[in-house]
Subunit: 327 residues, 2 copies
């Protein structure tokens, strides 16, 4: 039982370094914060260190102001256990994993099927909706009473990773967790509004623009969107994560099996972030992995160096191949 | 206890006529079907009669092919009790209420705060997410065992009326219900895909077009969208219900308190359907009621006769007045 071993390790240590992946979203942040809260409720110490700065929309999560950045002065940070959450590969922590140069035990808690089992102890469960749902299970297993702070962080992570209970990772157990978490007086609309509902008008105009130029190929089995750097600059996009908006739109189209977003990374020349969503027939984790990325069977991503149009051609080749195998 | 009285009436009768409102959506259909299923599981008879035809996307709900239309030959339909679900006013059944010309008892089961209490027995609970959640409670109260058919209908109604557990009507109890319903082996993605995810490419292009022309007024407190008949014709819109797409988009904008969609009804000259969503500060049920419509505090609608631009002016006046009272 990997969960049992994780529990034993938590009991055996006192000072925890906690981290997650770069390009953080709700589940990464929520699981870090709720895990650290658990450690504190046990009377122990936890410090969260991340490579990236806090993403837009998550400032409302209790505890975010205690999160340290890898670039901060971290000399005072002592730990005897390194906990990595929601992270398929240790390198996805950015540089943070370098802090463990003394080789303290690594607890790897994750729900990505592509997880490389990099931990000293690995608790990987691809059948759980989110890392937050795993941390929720940890509270139960360790009989630590949840409080409102923890509940809010867990709920936020579950909501973001399940697309608000719409994705295939949503189970009866996910709803049971949500039912308990809402009892702590969580403002459902407030959470959603904080994360998704505080975008400047111009950034939503950008979304509309990207949606308006939606394209299809392979008899409509592939829907794709493109966000060139020029467009991101035109609309002065600073906060928005286009992915959810665009993917949910593409998914709504009859016959669409794969939805792809190509986004030029601002500030880095010829670097394209590619995000994939699948309706289930195509394994987009395999496609992303073949291109140096990873994720889940139905949601994945990778970063490719090259010109936008070249990257698109390269990616489409992989998708066409995968679709061909199906039919 | 109004629920108790409803239970007593169900026990006392054998043949039920079941209906809901015009412009049906998931909760109307789901609650009709799950209620009729309950009646059948009790060994009694139920016939569903609706004014409108089945909306797009709901053909997958078990039992839909037994639903009759008011225009069908209904001579054989005998009933001793008339059950109206998810319907704020008896007139919102269209012409269906005329079938009750012998004055059989009317059971009014609804969660709209604007309900006119038109029933012989009224069970109105504006604190419940959906009529489907009320019917779920009815199964519990009457100790009728749910089956997969009922579970699927109830789940579909809850999902659509809560915007997939995102709206303020979502409670811990809603998630508890969902947790139980999913145990019947419901395909979460399939439900969502059926209802929202089978739209033709051109209809989503229409959505993108409408989104692209989003406007704001009153210092960005009002976001509005317009779908003139010409646009609906240009994109050959047949199936789409623009409302959800457009509203969720508008809601995501910083500072937006009210989102409004003006849509010209096809086939009727100078008739505009107006839909409202509020973030909570403004009571859009009051606004819609003052214009001859109704709904909930945060989601409502009305139909106004007049030219699109005139209707818009008329509606904006009401919204400005409501916002003025606030500040």
């Amino acid at each position: 039982m990997s969960l049992k071993k994780i529990v034993a390790q938590i009991k055996n240590h006192d000072n925890f370094l906690v981290s997650s992946h770069v390009n953080m979203e709700g589940d990464a942040l929520g699981s870090e914060l709720a895990f650290s809260r658990l450690i504190k409720l046990l009377g122990k110490n936890a410090v969260i260190v991340n490579e990236d700065k806090l993403p837009y929309g998550y400032g409302f999560l209790p505890g975010v102001n205690t999160i340290k950045k890898y670039k901060d002065n971290l000399k005072g940070v002592k730990f005897d256990c390194f906990v990595v959450l929601d992270c398929s590969d240790i390198k996805r922590t950015g540089e943070v994993y370098r802090m463990n140069n003394e080789g303290k035990p690594v607890l790897n808690i994750d729900h990505h099927i592509s997880n490389t089992k990099f931990g000293t102890f690995n608790w990987i469960d691809p059948y759980v909706s989110s890392a937050c749902e795993m941390v929720y299970q940890l509270y139960k297993k360790m009989r630590v009473k949840l409080d409102k702070e923890a509940a809010l962080c867990l709920y936020a992570g579950i909501v973001t990773d399940t697309g608000s209970f719409r994705y295939s990772n949503t189970t009866s157990t996910t709803h049971e967790a949500a039912a308990e978490l809402l009892n702590f007086g969580i403002d459902v609309v407030g959470v959603y509004k904080n994360i998704y509902g505080n975008l400047p008008f111009n950034e939503l105009q950008l979304v509309a623009h990207v949606l308006g130029e939606m394209k299809r190929r392979n008899n409509g089995r592939v829907i794709w969107f493109e966000a060139p750097a020029s467009l991101l600059k035109k609309y002065k996009a600073r906060y928005i994560d286009l992915t959810d908006h665009v993917m949910n739109f593409g998914r709504a189209i009859e016959g669409a099996e794969v939805v792809v977003l190509f986004k030029e990374n601002l500030g880095v020349k010829n670097e394209v972030r590619v995000n994939f969503r699948s309706q289930g027939s195509i394994d987009v984790n395999a496609i992303a992995q073949s291109l140096g990325g990873g994720g889940h069977r139905t949601a994945s991503g990778c970063t490719i160096h090259g010109k936008l149009s070249d990257v698109r051609r390269q990616v489409m080749k992989q998708i066409d191949k995968a679709l061909e195998k199906l039919s």
